[in-house]
């Protein structure tokens, strides 16, 4: 299905993917009693943060991420992602990691888990990183 006016959009795939992400976060919340915040869990797995779930549980979640994505890649065939150049990815990775820790969360922790809980901090953080992302893409487009 396509969205009128947006030939490249995949609204049904997006919605289904979102429902899976919601189920994943709900399992973490109701099963383990924790927020499925990826930046926090990754930091915990690598021993960079010293609180959160047990490091071995954090590793289970981190290993699951490529496992699930790999399964979908097998099912759907080529996903054909388009990446930015490697130096951009490296620098952006550092900024994303630093910012996620400074702001106590990322797209998953604030954007999914916090917004759905109507957390004021998470709503403000989500609006802020979306605005910053929009400005960044616009500026990069203007100078490209």
């Amino acid at each position: 299905m396509t969205l009128p006016g947006f030939p490249d959009a995949a609204p049904l795939d997006g919605l289904f993917g979102g429902l899976l992400i919601g189920l994943a976060a709900a399992l973490m919340l109701l099963g383990a009693g924790r927020i499925a915040g990826v930046s926090g869990i990754v930091g915990r797995a690598f021993g960079i943060n010293d609180s959160g779930m047990s490091p071995s549980s954090a590793w289970m979640f981190v290993i699951g991420l490529p496992l699930g994505a790999g399964l979908v890649a097998l099912l759907k065939g080529r996903l054909d992602p388009e990446f930015m150049p490697l130096p951009v990815l490296a620098v952006a990775g550092v900024i994303v990691g630093f910012g996620a820790r400074l702001g106590s969360g990322c797209t998953s922790g604030h954007g999914v888990c916090g917004v759905s809980r109507f957390s004021q901090r998470s709503i403000v953080a989500t609006l802020t990183f979306m605005a910053a992302g929009i400005a960044t893409v616009a500026l990069m487009g203007a100078f490209a």
Binding site: A24, A32, G64, P66, G68, R101, Q120
Partner: protein, 146 residues
């Protein structure tokens, strides 16, 4: 062991599958969502909408549960104050997100799809987490949200 390790493994796998299915492992699609002044791709709004709807339902069960299904107690963030640190962190996060079209989940999930690009982003991500730890070395309580 299985009781504590299976839920995060299943959750991570579902999470990674959802990211890939929803198109978040394609940085061009994510940047297309942020490109509201250009050729806007609204797909990511459907991903976020789907995830938030399920989680909004899940949150309603929490007050009625004495403890999580597979753990002794809930360990959830309790802060509600807006701080300069929150805004600065979210701003930096958004800048990096817009530059790469990747955030931490899709970056790591992509290790199975595009190992080279995903490793470079993930290495940067870990470097950023370490830099933050070195710069602030703050009590872990404040970092619990993820």
């Amino acid at each position: 062991m299985i009781r504590t390790h299976l839920p995060p493994l299943v959750s991570g796998t579902l999470f990674g599958a959802g990211l890939a299915f929803g198109g978040m492992t394609d940085p061009a699609r994510v940047r297309g969502f942020l490109d509201i002044f250009g050729d806007w791709d609204p797909t990511l709004a459907f991903v976020m909408g789907g995830a938030v709807i399920v989680m909004a339902i899940a949150w309603r069960f929490v007050p009625r549960m004495r403890h999580p299904l597979f753990a002794g107690e809930f360990a959830l963030p309790e802060r509600s104050d807006l701080t300069p640190r929150l805004i600065a962190g979210a701003t930096l996060f958004g800048i990096g997100w817009g530059m790469a079209g990747l955030c931490p989940g899709p970056g790591i999930a992509s290790l199975a799809i595009a190992p080279l690009e995903a490793s470079v982003f993930t290495a940067g991500l870990l470097g950023g987490l370490v830099l933050n730890r070195l710069a602030f070395d703050r009590p872990a309580k404040e970092t619990a949200h993820g």
